[in-house]
Subunit: 204 residues, 2 copies
């Protein structure tokens, strides 16, 4: 773990971290392998010892993103109260917060930047696990009568679609300012969820 000047020690992870820094600074469009390498303190070709190409780095960043997102959702779920409806709102809000606080990271995960997901088993695994957990949670809301009955996977997909669509449109600046000027984002998310729940989520 020493800085032996030549061998880095843990360059692979350093490159992922550097990638996140570049993403936060220059956005997804500014994410270049050379910039990432330079920020990690190595030459422009060094990354090729750990990633077969740029796509592989993107896959690693996306995978790490799913881990972080999952942690955020778990934390929100654990911190939320006992009311199922309110728990749904909190988890959805955690999803939105992750996207808003890590815009370009989220963009890398969900904007088709990764071409052949199938070639990256870690990515496939975490992304499956992600849905499985969400399905588990939604199943609880369903049993609590908060969400309409139906096949758990399709129901989870419906709720995820609503939340993911809302967040996507928000990041894409497709939500009219006429709405955003009137109601705070979290309340807007709440009102949006109101359309898919069987109980009334109320207002602020």
């Amino acid at each position: 773990m020493a800085k032996s000047s030549y061998h880095h020690g843990d360059l692979k992870n350093a490159l992922i971290q550097a990638g996140l820094a570049v993403l936060a600074e220059d956005g997804a469009a500014g994410l270049s392998l050379r910039k990432v390498a330079s920020r990690a303190g190595v030459s422009h070709s060094a990354p090729y010892a750990h990633f077969t190409d740029k796509q592989a780095l993107i896959a690693a960043i996306s995978t790490e993103g799913f881990r972080r997102l999952q942690a955020a959702l778990d934390a929100a779920n654990a911190a939320a109260g006992s009311d199922p409806a309110e728990r749904l709102v909190e988890v959805a809000w955690a999803y939105a917060r992750f996207a808003l606080e890590n815009r370009d990271w989220f963009k890398v995960m969900f904007s088709g930047l990764l071409e052949n997901q199938h070639d990256y088993p870690d990515f496939v695994a975490i992304s499956h696990e992600n849905f499985a957990r969400f399905e588990q949670q939604v199943s609880e809301y369903q049993q609590a009568g908060v969400v309409r009955p139906g096949p758990p996977d399709v129901t989870a997909l419906s709720v995820w679609s609503l939340v993911h669509g809302f967040v996507s449109l928000l990041l894409e600046q497709q939500i009219s300012s006429a709405i955003l000027d009137r109601v705070a984002v979290k309340d807007l998310l709440r009102e949006t969820l109101n359309h898919i729940t069987l109980v009334d989520l109320g207002r602020v």
Copy 2:
């Protein structure tokens, strides 16, 4: 309109069309100005007489995409029967079809490829009009008792979020094959919409 070898005549539109061809062939990642220029039969710098930079071409392609999407939704709305619930399904399905049949075009429109939307008035205008029309339609479904009451704009946003999220996750290959192997995409969309409607949309 002649091919005077030097002056093209309508290069601006030719470049947009060439861009669409490149998108369909090489995807969004393969969309390069030089490739577009070459396909339009002009030199690599010719586009700069009509577009200030690559972003401007992307804006034009996105704008044209919103026009096409709007036309598709209008057509579906006109062709649909009188049952409001069924009309909702048809319009949503037209949205999904446009995305599936023009994956990379849709991606250009909704994947943050365009950095400063605000600099492109045509884009802003058509994208506002797009939402206004959708709000109009959803308002009808609402009055017909198909969708839960509430402010028309927030309600339209909710429905749009659901449909857009579903389509996005579909394109991102985030919908588990366990679901896709079981139910056809259109039926899946129908079942998804079922969670946000007040009436039962039924099955196949």
